[in-house]
Amino acid sequence: MDYLARKYLRGRKIPSSACSGCGLGQVHKKVLMAIDQIGLTTGDVVWGTGIGCSGRQTFNTWNGDNFAGTHGRVYAIATGLRLALPPSKKIILTVGDGDAFGIGLLHLLHAARRNVDMTVIVADNFGFQSTGGQYGLTTPDGSVTDSSPYGMRDPNWVQDGRDILDIVKGAGAGFLARHTSIEGQNAVESIKQAIRFKGFSLVHIIYPCVTNYFSKALGTRDPEVACRWLTERTNPKTEIEGLTIKTGIYPVTDGNRLEFSEQMQQITQAVQREKSNGAN
């Protein structure tokens, strides 16, 4: 185990049961580097996860308190948890792309609307991988997967002029960023800003699934080929066919909204003030 794992993680699930060459660990490590560089301890963070590969590989690795919700619901659980936890306590969620942009999108958008203080790390492996590799909401157009044997034609959230971060921004998110798992400190910097942000923040991190996605789409499980494919398409200088990934901070209109649990406290205090000075 490296110094980060020794400092923050429990030994039993490290290394994870992820496949060899799976990039999820790279996402996991970047989140821990951000926590480390901000100077947070295990007691400062309650870690939540979804299910699937991303959930299974990160759940109960955090040495502090942690929970795993059912598919797509962790955002609603975190909303309730937010009401009970002191504002200083951070809530960090590591979820899959299907969890956040598929079945869980309603709860995610309403958590952003309410500006609930949580940081959502979407570990995007281009589809539903733990169930064997079906295409998802971010799978590049035309990809061959288990559920698109003739090439995926279902419009996704990330091409053809659509960007899911646009939708999450429209819902009221206070901080948004996109990176890939093979980027360096710049990705860690974005995650640090997300964790520091007092409200709803989300960082979309694309990582390679070599066993299902890349083996079917590119015909090889070699992580290097997957890395090259990702690097070519990240902030490409030249015009390139198919999916391109623009990484960095995603500008939002107004980041300083009242946070959900603060707003709730204000209602309670206002009502009790009014009652105490006999107004009603």
Binding site: M1, L9, I14, G21, Q26, Q37, G184
Partner: protein, 87 residues
């Protein structure tokens, strides 16, 4: 684990061979060829990557960033923790 004796190096690279899943991200990313894949198997049945040329490490930490299984530590040899200084 890497050999403790060579202490005149600028960076210390440690690789946990039992944690390694032989994905070779580190091997591909290291600009100095510090790593090589072993020919023996670890407990899990993978042929792990091991540190071949620790002296050549320039502390770029690419290997550290890319290792999905928390198997590599890169520290400044002079005891002061190299990890704080980012790339």
């Amino acid at each position: 684990m890497a050999n403790e004796a060579e202490n005149n190096r600028r960076f210390k690279v440690e690789l946990d061979e039992q944690a390694c899943k032989a994905c070779k991200y580190c091997l591909a990313a290291c600009p100095r060829g510090v790593f090589v894949q072993a020919d023996y198997f670890n407990e899990k049945g993978y042929r792990p990557v091991r540190v071949k040329a620790p002296d050549d490490c320039i502390g770029c930490k690419r290997c550290f960033f890319l290792c999905p299984d928390f198997a590599i530590d890169v520290e400044a040899a002079t005891g002061e923790d190299a990890n704080e200084k980012t790339v």
